[in-house]
């Protein structure tokens, strides 16, 4: 094996290599910033957008942004990178002729792209977009020669690597000579996939592979090669506040108090962080000072007793809906939590569902037949702003929301329109209110991912690793 | 022929038990005999007296356990057979000692062509390989009188008639011209003329190669025709032995005397006058064509096994069917029982066409007609003991006998056919050939039918038991008006038992007539050949001229 060739084992086969689907983990990890590049790149530490293919940007009015594009960039097929190419890529994404996952980040915003000159574009939207530069980090720029009405498996972008082959066994990327930036240390990378974490770990251990993201905690046994990283995922239980007894805030608080959080944390490894809100540190709007609920079974019992005294039907069966395979040890966690809730006297019953069945409970419209229920879920916001979290969870119309409060909706709309410090403060206030007053969910943990990196490589995972593994950042030892 | 005096096989004090949870069954009790090269030793004896078991031990074919050779020495040409290892035994079997089994269908592998099974004898002893053997196999089949041997080598055992299978067995046994041939009732399924041909063949072989022959038979005429010496067995013991002529002319032991006097001689009193004129069965233009093909992809051709046969049977009457082996007798029987569909023709039973019966009517008919199969072993479920086998008709037709009487009746039937009550708990494989045949007869009688089709029903029985069974059948006919279709090769028996006789050859009825008339003045040439083919005692034979046929 050539020294500058590396092999990466992913947990899953990418179903396709459509650059418009890079927010899907296994597509993004291969394509993002390797084959195709976005206009902006989120800085993992600050959560702020930094220059990508766009070098500068300014907001000309609440609905309009102007971007300056990088000079001297060429697509891997020789086409020139310019304002027209940006227009093409964005229109391809928003055109609705192909299924594009990345567009979801934009909600229902309608974008109009106008080239000003060769390297300047203007992006207008129908609603104010205070964080458009952040959003643009999911816009992957593809060659204008890409079919506009068809999803592709042979993406052509501006990145340091170009796709060499894609078979059911492997994806191979090769360095692109005409890359605008620094020449990466790695010349060739092949990706294979094995779902079993222990096998992936073994492959790096035996030297068959050089890197594998997301191995299970029990396989991360070698401190030399195994790196933990906060992976931007937050686990939680959603409380369906529309049904008694869950419509009573005392019961919702009791649910939070009844869990032996330290004990539960053992399932996810010593590095997990107890969560008090649905976004991780570094995301605009995260409130460091918000203290998570602590374990206090006595208090939980007292709250339940109080609610019972007030006529709340606390004995009603509450369905805890879990999803198989949602995250490692997810089922065990549900079993444990169920046991703990039963311990304080709540009648919780666990049902584990397959993804599609579970989705019916996650997203509106919810099934008619549901009763009081708790839903296991996981939220991943690595896009730097609480705007990707708050509306869908807490507005009346939010697609995950079981909560209905017009006043609160207004508060959220305010925060969404705000910018700068004001925006941060408003989101913090919202998280605080959700946590202390409303208690409509049970945030569990900010999860930790483990990556095993072979001894040849110079690389450390960070919060973005779940969505991209830029090969250009990987160095080779000696 | 020159019989040397030094025995090639000597058996001394052989005792064989069959073990089970209870007391062991002694099948062979201190039996000793020997046979010299070129000599023919005939073993006569009661059915179940241990003939097959004692000869089986010579080949090492008794499973031990549950068989148990308690004592005895078997010396073949100087080697002690009981000391031989597998390889030594293998060397002898088939090449120097060969055996013709009593029950040819069960003893042929159903999934290989007969040609291949015969060729294996050669292959096993390095006498030749596969394809080259074909010619030799065909010649062997021709020698034992299989017609169209060239094509028939490629057929499977189930495509042969009973007698043909027996001849295949014989061909297999004589393939390597063994030093000693053990023939366990080799001619029971053969008509007299083929039988004569086979006996000649065996004699020729003896003359040419000095083969010693141990022959087990119930047919006293055959015994007389072949034997140099005779031993008589009864209940596991040798009760008499001596030169053939002496034993025949001057039997000493009471069993032997009984045997000799039981020879049927067309005693007409066993024959019935049909009490009624009512026609029970009317067969018209019955034909059966078998589709033949050696492999699944080979082209098919037709073979006319039964060709336009018509006859009638009146209530209380017995029709005997005799004829060439392979002439379609069993095929007729099977069609009459609706086991094979006829190619064409009709058969009216009590006015109704058998071939059109369905459902209930068919069941009713089957209750009234029973069959004793030519191959009794195969016709019994190996997982059922004799009690279940015999009581099965009552389980099927609930009105025949109330359940509480079943056990009693089973014992009764067993005794009627000369078996013991304790046999009821045994399974078919634990019996001798003749005993199985009697179980089959008992089963046929159990359902109290109106017509019994007996396909070689008494061929494996020794003469005394044969008489007992025939008398039983005759008695039933007399008392209950039973009718019989009696297929046999044993001419004295049909002469004694049948009212009318059909003679078959190549699928056709060539002659039909009242028994006595037919025996006295046969018209068809084939019938005459049959009647003349009765073998002569050996001690009267001047020179063995080929028999007419």
């Amino acid at each position: 094996q050539n020294a500058s060739e590396i092999k990466i084992v992913l947990p899953e086969q990418p179903a396709n290599l459509e650059p418009c689907g890079t927010i899907i983990t296994n597509v993004g990890q291969i394509l993002s910033r390797n084959v195709v590049e976005p206009l902006t790149i989120i800085d993992p530490k600050s959560g702020q957008p930094t220059s990508g293919l766009a070098t500068e940007w300014k907001q000309t009015d609440p609905n309009t942004w102007q971007l300056k594009l990088r000079e001297g960039v060429k697509f891997q097929d020789g086409a020139a990178f310019n304002a027209e190419a940006v227009k093409f890529s964005i229109e391809r994404m928003t055109g609705g002729k192909l299924t594009c996952s990345n567009i979801a980040k934009f909600g229902n915003a309608k974008l109009t792209v106008t080239p000003i000159d060769d390297l300047t574009v203007e992006i207008k939207s129908d609603t104010p977009q205070p964080i458009l530069p952040t959003l643009l980090s999911v816009v992957m720029i593809v060659s204008p020669n890409t079919p506009a009405d068809k999803a592709v498996n042979d993406p052509v972008g501006t990145g340091p690597f170009k796709l060499s082959s894609f078979t059911p066994q492997t994806v191979v990327l090769e360095a692109f000579d005409g890359y605008w930036g620094e020449k990466p240390a790695i010349a060739r990378a092949s990706y294979v996939w094995r779902p079993e974490s222990s096998i992936r770990a073994a492959m790096v251990e035996t030297g068959e592979a050089d890197l594998t993201p997301s191995i299970a905690i029990q396989d991360a046994t070698n401190p030399e090669t195994d790196f933990a990283y906060l992976n931007s995922e937050t686990t939680a239980i959603r409380i369906d506040a529309g049904f008694a007894p869950l419509d009573d805030v005392r019961i919702r608080k009791a649910l939070n108090l009844a869990i032996d959080w330290n004990g539960l944390a053992q399932l996810f490894g010593e590095d997990v962080q107890r969560a008090s809100q649905m976004v991780v540190t570094g995301i605009n709007g995260h409130d460091d000072k918000l203290a998570p609920w602590a374990f206090d079974a006595e208090k939980a019992r007292a709250l339940i007793a109080e609610a019972k005294a007030a006529g709340v039907p606390v004995d009603t069966e509450i369905e805890l809906i879990g999803r198989n395979g949602i995250y490692p040890n997810g089922t065990e966690a549900m079993e444990a939590m169920m046991a703990m809730w039963q311990d304080v006297g709540l009648n919780v019953k666990l049902t584990m569902l397959d993804v599609n069945d579970w989705l019916r409970y996650l997203q509106k419209p919810f099934p008619e037949s549901r009763g009081p229920n708790l839903l296991q879920m996981m939220h991943d916001n690595n896009k730097g702003d609480a705007a990707f979290t708050v509306p869908i969870f807490y507005t009346s119309g939010g697609s995950y929301s079981t909560f209905n409060d017009a006043a609160f909706d207004k508060e959220i709309a305010d925060a969404m329109a705000a910018t700068g410090e004001d925006r941060t403060a408003k989101f913090k206030a919202i998280f605080a209110k959700v946590h202390e007053e409303l208690a409509v969910d049970i945030p569990m943990f900010h999860m930790i991912g483990y990556t095993r990196v072979g001894s040849r490589l110079e690389w450390k995972p960070d919060i973005t690793t779940n969505s991209e593994i830029p090969l250009a950042n990987i160095g080779l030892k000696d | 022929m020159t019989a040397s005096d030094k025995p090639i096989l000597r058996i001394d004090g052989l005792t064989v038990d069959f073990l089970s949870e209870g007391d062991p069954v002694r099948a062979v009790d201190n039996v000793s005999f020997d046979v010299c090269p070129g000599e023919t030793l005939v073993i006569l004896g009661e059915s179940g007296s241990g003939k097959s078991v004692s000869t089986g031990t010579v080949m090492g074919l008794i499973d031990c356990p549950p068989g148990d050779i308690v004592s005895g020495t078997l010396v073949f040409d100087g080697t002690d057979l009981s000391r031989l290892d597998n390889e030594g035994r293998r060397e002898l079997n088939g090449r120097r000692i060969a055996m013709i089994f009593q029950d040819p269908l069960a003893y042929l592998n159903p999934v290989y062509t007969v040609g291949r099974q015969i060729a294996e004898v050669f292959e096993s002893h390095g006498a030749g390989e596969g394809g080259a053997m074909r010619g030799r196999v065909v010649r062997l089949l021709e020698r034992v009188g299989i017609p169209e041997a060239e094509t028939r080598v490629d057929y499977y055992p189930h495509q042969f008639s009973g007698g043909q299978r027996q001849r295949v067995m014989i061909a297999m046994a004589i393939a390597l011209e063994p030093d000693i041939l053990i023939a366990d009732e080799p001619t029971t399924a053969l008509d007299v003329s083929v039988q004569a041909q086979i006996l000649d063949l065996l004699r020729d072989l003896q003359r040419e190669t000095g083969m010693a022959l141990i022959m087990i038979t119930h047919d006293l005429e055959v015994a007389a025709a072949m034997a140099d010496r005779i031993i008589v067995m009864n209940a596991g013991k040798v009760v008499e032995s001596g030169r053939a002529e002496d034993v025949f002319t001057n039997p000493r032991h009471s069993y032997t005397r009984r045997l000799m006097s039981a020879v049927p001689h067309g005693d007409p009193k066993k024959r019935s006058r049909p009490v009624e004129q009512e026609v029970l069965l009317q067969v018209a233009h019955l034909s059966k064509h078998y589709k033949l093909g050696s492999g699944p992809f080979a082209p098919k051709r037709e073979f006319k096994a039964v060709d336009d046969v018509s006859f009638t049977l009146r209530r209380g009457e017995t029709v005997g069917i005799v004829g060439e082996s392979g002439s379609g007798k069993s095929s007729i029987a099977r069609m009459l029982l609706r086991l094979n569909e006829p190619t064409s023709g009709s058969a009216l039973f009590a006015g109704e066409d058998i071939f059109k019966l369905e459902g209930r009517a068919l069941n009713g008919f089957r209750r009234k007609v029973q069959m004793v199969f030519q191959d009794p072993f195969g016709s019994m479920n190996p997982r059922m003991n004799v009690r279940s086998i015999i009581s099965e008709p009552w389980a099927i037709h609930r009105d025949i006998l109330p359940r509480q009487r079943w056990n009693e009746r089973v014992v009764e039937l067993l005794e009627l056919v000369g078996l013991k009550p304790e046999h009821a708990e045994r399974y078919p494989h634990q019996f001798s050939g003749g005993q199985r045949q009697r179980i089959a007869i008992a089963r046929a009688l159990a359902s109290e039918p109106e017509l019994i089709v007996c396909d070689e029903a008494v061929s494996a029985l020794d003469v005394s038991i044969q008489m007992q069974v025939i008398e039983l059948l005759a008695d039933l006919r007399q008392r209950l008006g039973l009718s019989y279709i009696f297929i046999t090769h044993d001419l004295p028996i049909v002469r004694q038992f049948a009212d009318r006789i059909l003679v078959m050859q190549r699928g056709k009825i060539v002659e039909e007539g009242e028994t006595e008339a037919l025996f006295v003045s046969p018209r068809h040439e084939y019938t005459r050949a049959l009647l003349n083919a009765v073998p002569q005692p050996k001690w009267l034979q001047r020179d063995p001229t080929p028999l007419a046929g």
Partner: protein
């Protein structure tokens, strides 16, 4: 076994006779004893350890086996939530054996019967049965499970139905193959000529000869079904936490084979021993049922020499 294969079953000493045969085959005896113990565990075990099996012990997660400081019940170690594996094995036996036995029995009984019919008859339904078997064979069991889950909802009965249906073709086809040959045997003709109906011929004459093969397959299928069940519960059909089966325990432990092998090992061993015992008993029963082989289990008394 039917009345015909073991004719003595009706007589009072029949059970004793079977017991005697059992003592003659030491391995079969061990197997029977093991299964008996298992059945006792299933019946009374949950009364004693039912509580413990569900009791969380997050601080003794993945406790290794043979450490006694937490009490005897932890002798086999603890699982990922620190629950004693021994207690869980005992409690899990009930669901495991219940589901597997029901599914295997149903598929054998129904599949066997359909196979007998398909092999014996040449009527249209024989073809229909066979083509249905082909269709079931080609139909992914996972898909079937999902469909049942979505249309009928999860339940034990549905789980058994899904498992039974997916395992059925092997019984149909095997039974049929045997019948194809057996029906050409003479004793079948003989029975027919006596007026025996198809039912009697099939169940009294042919079935006893087909059954041993089916039982052999069923005994091994037991393990297959236990493991298949665990993969179906992943879809949400069938046993759901906090209920569990051995198969689910094995599946839970698969991620820990390197670090905590005992989590998957003990339930795996339990499945193995159960299947092994069933097979040994099946082969013993085969010997008992076959008159030609039964002597192997009899004490043969030789005559004095």
């Amino acid at each position: 076994m039917t009345e015909l294969t073991l004719p003595s079953v009706k007589s009072p000493g029949a059970l004793r006779q079977l017991a005697i045969y059992l003592t003659r085959d030491k391995l079969a005896l061990c197997a029977a004893v093991f299964l008996l113990v298992l059945i006792v565990c299933v019946l009374v075990g949950p009364l004693f350890v039912g509580e413990l099996a569900g009791k969380l012990g997050l601080r003794q997660r993945n406790l290794p086996p043979f450490a006694l400081e937490h009490g005897f019940i932890y002798i086999l170690g603890a699982d990922t939530l620190g629950r004693p594996i021994l207690a869980r094995l005992i409690v899990g036996a009930q669901n495991t054996l219940g589901i597997a036995a029901a599914a295997v029995f149903c598929s054998m009984a129904v599949g066997g019967t359909l196979g007998l019919a398909a092999g014996y008859s040449e009527r249209w339904y024989s073809h229909v049965i066979l083509r249905l078997a082909d269709v079931v064979m080609s139909f992914p069991s996972l898909l079937l499970a999902l469909i049942v889950l979505y249309t009928l909802g999860p339940s034990m009965t549905n789980l058994v139905i899904v498992l039974a249906i997916t395992r059925m073709p092997i019984f149909i086809r095997t039974a049929r193959a045997e019948v194809l040959e057996l029906r050409e045997r003479m004793f079948v003709s003989a029975a027919r000529s006596m007026g025996a109906g198809s039912g009697r011929i099939l169940f009294r004459h042919i079935a006893p000869l087909v059954l041993p093969t089916l039982v052999t397959i069923a005994a091994i299928d037991f393990a297959t079904v236990i493991l298949a069940e665990s993969s179906l519960s992943f879809l949400g059909l069938g046993i759901q936490p906090p209920d569990f089966t051995w198969g689910a325990m094995v599946a839970n432990g698969r991620g820990y084979l390197k670090t905590a092998w005992w989590i998957a090992f003990w339930p795996g061993l339990a499945i193995l021993l159960t299947t092994l015992s069933l097979n040994i008993l099946a082969s013993w029963a085969r010997t008992v049922a076959d008159p030609l082989q039964r002597w192997r289990l009899q004490s043969l008394r030789k005559a004095p020499r």
